[in-house]
C-alpha cells in the first residue's frame, strides 16, 4: 500500500535562517518552478504553498521588524496557477484564508486552478486569527492574539468565542465553495444549435446559502472544475479544528510528536469522521549531517527552532522508519516541511522516495491524472444532480 507524500513549500524552507545558506530568489517564478519540478520528479502527491494576509513575524501577532529573516510572499493561489502549466501530474494546494476573503472569489479561484491544471487543485483553508491582519482590512475588530495566548489556563483556543467564530465562518466558507463547485452540472454546456441554447439552465443551480457571516446566492460563474470538487485540506492541532476538518476537509494535517500521539490523534479524528484522510506534518532536515545543519541554522537565527510540528533530523532511511511506524498508527500520508530549500526537498524527492520504494511503500509512477485520483478520493457527484 502506497504512502501519500506531500511537501509544504514556504520561502527558503521552514528554518527562518535557511535563506542564508542557499540565498534563493524567493520573489522569482523560476525559483518556485524548480522546486515544484523537483517534487514532481519525486512523484510526490502534492505540494502546499503557505500564505497569510500579512508579513511573516516571530511574534504571535504583529510585525516584528526583524531584518534577518525572509519577509514577504506571493498570493499562493496565483503562484500555484503560475506553476500549473509547468507541471503535469503533481497536485497544487495553495493556502487561502477564510477570514477576510470573499468565499465567492476563493471558490472561483480554486476552481480556476483546477481548470488550468487539468484537475490537480486543492485548497488549504485557513483561519486568520490575528488582529494585525484584521487591521489590513479594517472591517473587524479582533482581540490581540497574544492576549488570547497568554490567558490563564493555557493555549487551547477551542473555547475562545473569537476563535470559535473564525472556525464557524471557515466551515461556512468551505460549504459555500463546495456548493458553488456543484452549482454547474457536469453537462450544463449543451450548445444546442436548434434551440439556440448554449447551456441547459436547469443544470445551473442557485446555492442560496445564508449563514451567520455572509450569504451567497450563486450559481458560480465558473463551470464545474475537472475534479468536480477540488481537494480541501486543513491543518489542525486541537479539538475545534479537528471538528472543522472532519466536517469540511478531504485531508487533515495533524501534528503528533510520537507514534503514540499519532495513534491518539487518529482515534480522536476518526471518531469525528471515517472519511477524512489523515496526514501528519513533520519538519525535516535530512542527510548524514542533518543535525549539524540544523544547529548551524539555529545559531545563525540566534535561537533554537520551534515548531508546532515535530522536528526530525536524520537520514532518509531513518525518516522512512518513522513514517512507516506512524503509518501503523493510522497516519495515511505525510506533509513534510523541508527545513532548508532546495536541499531538504531534494533529499525527500530523491532519497526518501527511493527508500520508501525499496520497502514497497511508495509509487513508481503516477497512477492518476488528478489529485483526487492520486489520493484515492472519488470524484463527487454534484449535490444538485438529478438522481433519476
Amino acid at each position: 500500500m502506497t504512502l501519500h507524500l506531500a511537501v509544504a513549500l514556504d520561502a527558503a524552507g521552514w528554518h527562518p535562517a535557511a535563506w542564508r545558506e542557499s540565498s534563493p530568489a524567493v520573489f522569482s517564478a523560476g525559483y518556485w518552478a524548480a522546486l515544484v519540478a523537483e517534487a514532481e520528479r519525486g512523484l510526490l502527491d502534492f505540494v502546499t504553498i503557505e500564505d497569510a494576509l500579512g508579513p511573516q513575524s516571530t511574534l504571535p501577532d504583529g510585525f516584528d521588524d526583524r531584518t534577518d529573516q525572509v519577509r514577504g510572499r506571493f498570493d499562493a493561489v496565483l503562484l500555484a496557477a503560475r506553476l500549473a502549466p509547468l507541471t503535469t501530474r503533481i497536485g497544487l494546494v495553495p493556502t487561502a484564508t477564510t477570514t477576510h476573503t470573499e468565499p465567492f472569489h476563493v471558490a472561483i479561484g480554486i476552481a480556476t486552478l483546477d481548470h488550468v491544471s487539468g484537475g490537480r487543485a486543492g485548497w488549504r483553508a485557513q483561519v486568520s486569527p490575528r488582529a494585525a491582519e484584521a487591521r489590513h482590512f479594517g472591517r473587524k475588530e479582533f482581540p490581540p492574539l497574544d492576549q488570547i495566548l497568554n490567558r490563564p489556563g493555557g493555549v487551547d483556543l477551542s473555547t475562545d468565542p473569537h476563535v470559535r467564530d473564525l472556525f464557524a465562518e471557515a466551515a461556512d466558507a468551505v460549504e459555500v465553495a463546495r456548493r458553488l463547485w456543484d452549482s454547474w452540472g457536469d453537462d450544463a454546456e449543451i450548445r444546442d444549435v436548434a434551440t439556440g441554447r448554449f447551456i441547459d439552465r436547469d443544470k445551473l443551480h442557485y446555492i442560496d446559502f445564508a449563514g451567520r457571516f455572509f450569504s451567497v446566492k450563486g450559481p458560480s460563474i465558473t463551470p464545474r472544475p475537472p475534479q468536480g470538487q477540488p481537494v480541501v485540506t486543513a491543518l489542525a492541532h486541537a479539538r475545534l479544528p479537528y471538528e472543522f476538518a472532519a466536517g469540511g476537509a478531504d485531508v487533515v494535517y495533524v501534528t503528533p510528536h510520537s507514534a503514540e500521539q499519532a495513534r491518539a490523534i487518529v482515534e480522536e479524528v476518526r471518531g469525528l469522521s471515517g472519511d477524512v484522510k489523515i496526514f501528519a506534518d513533520l519538519l525535516v532536515f535530512l542527510g548524514e549531517d542533518a543535525a549539524r545543519r540544523k544547529a548551524r541554522l539555529d545559531e545563525l537565527d540566534g535561537t533554537e527552532l520551534v515548531s508546532d510540528a515535530a522536528i526530525f533530523t536524520g537520514t532518509a532511511g531513518e525518516l522512512a522508519d518513522v513514517l512507516l511506524e506512524w503509518r501503523r498508527a493510522g497516519i495515511q500520508g505525510f506533509r513534510l516541511r523541508p527545513g532548508a530549500l532546495p536541499y531538504d526537498l531534494t533529499q525527500i524527492a530523491q532519497g526518501l522516495t527511493a527508500e520508501l520504494r525499496g520497502r514497497g511503500a511508495f509509487r513508481h509512477a503516477y497512477e492518476a491524472a488528478t489529485l483526487r485520483g492520486l489520493l484515492g478520493l472519488p470524484r463527487p457527484v454534484s449535490r444538485f444532480a438529478e438522481v433519476s
Binding site: R82, H100, G196
Partner: protein, 448 residues
Amino acid sequence: MGRTARAGPMTRKQVHLAAHFPGVNNTTVWADPRSGSQIDFASFVDLARTAERGKFDFFFLAEGLRLRELKGRIHDLDVVGRPEALTVLSALAAVTDRLGLGGTVNATFNEPYELARRLSTLDHLSEGRAAWNVVTTSDAFTGENFRRGGFLDRADRYKRAAEFLRLARELWDSWQPDAIAADPETGTFVRPGGIGTVEHSGEHFTVQGRFTLPRSPQGRPVIIQAGDSGEGREFAAAHADVIFTPHGRLEDGQRFYADVKRRLGKYGREPHQLKIMPGVTFALGDTEEEAAENAAVIRRQQVGPQTAIAFLEQVWGRDMSAYDPEGSLPDVEPDLSEGVSQGRVPIKDRAATAAKWRALAEEKGLTIRELVIEVTGRQTFIGTPETVARLIDEHVQADAADGFILVPHLTPGGLDEFADRVVPLLQERGAFRADYTGTTLRDHLELA
C-alpha cells in the same frame, strides 16, 4: 524607450493592440463548428500565443460576478461561464514571455489589501506584465454573491474605486525599491526601514499595517478603466493608463478622444499618459465583397432567432416569445414598469429606444431579427487585410484612438487571420512594432 520611438525620423503614431478573450455576450459565436471550449485552459493558451506572435500589447479578460438573467431566469443563449481572471492570467504568464496580461476586477466587491497583493503577485510572476481593468459596474443583483451585499449607491462606486486605487498605490509603494538585500554575508534579508507602514483612514477604508510584497517590476500594474459616464471619464483622467471604450467609429472616437485627453490637464497629466483603446470587432475577406459577406454571416450567427427575441424583451420589458423572429415587429407597447434583464448594463431610455426601433423597422421593412441585427451591430472594421490595416492606422493617426482592443467572434482561433495577415501590413506601414522593444507592459504602451 517609447519617447525615442516617437521622436525618431518616423513620427508616425504607433498603434497599440490588445486581444480580448471572447465570451459571455452574443458577440461570441459558439455555434460555428470552429468554435472551441470557452473554459479549457488550452483555448486561453492558444489565443494568448496568437496575440504574442502578433506582438500585441496585452491580452484582456472581462468579468461578471453573477450570471445574467432575463425574465427571472438565467440567460441561456450566449456563452456562459468563465474562469477567475487573475488566476488564469497567472497561468498564462508561464506560457508567454512579453504579452501584457490584463484582468477586469470589480472594485466594489473586493478589498484593497487583498486585491493589491494579488495584482502585485501577478506583476512579479509575469515580470512586469500585469494590468487591472477597474470596473464598478455591479449592483445589488451581483452583491447577492458577496459578504456585504449590494452596499453601494451608483454615485459612491467611483468614489470607492478612487480611494481603493489610492490605497493600493500606498501599499505598492510601501516597500522601498531596494528593500530586499538578501545578503547572506551580513545576514540582512530586509534592509532596516525597507518595509514601510501604511496608515490609511478614508471614507471607505481604514487600513493600517504592512504590505506583504516588495515593489513589483512595474511598480504598479497598468490601470485600465472601462466606464463611459462623466464620472467614469474623470476617474480615468485622474488614475488610468488605458481607457477601454465602445467609441470605435471615426468621428465618435475623435469626440471621445478629445474629451478625455482634455480632462488630463486638471490632474497634471499629459495626453500620451492615457491610451485610448476602443473595443472593436472585425471581419476579413480576400475581396471587399467577400469580407462584407463574411460580416453578414457573422451577424446572423451572433443574432440567432432566439437572441433576436431576447433583445426585444430587454427593451420591451415583457415576454415576447410568442412572436416570430422572422416576422414583423408586433404592435404591443413596451412595459416600462420594470426591467426584465439583470446583470447587463441597463438600456438607458427604453421608451425612446423602443420608438426608435419601431420607426426603423417600419421605414426599412425589417423583420424582428433583421432589426436587431441592424441596431446591435457594432462591427467596426470590415474589408480585406489591406483595408483593415489602413483603417486602423487612419483611426490612430486621426486621433480617434491610440489603438484597439480586438474582440474576435471565435474562440480560440478568432485572431489567427488578423495576426497573420493584418499585423504584417500594419508593420509595413510603420505603424506597429516589428518586435517587442521592452519587457514590461508599460514599455509596450510607451508609458513611463
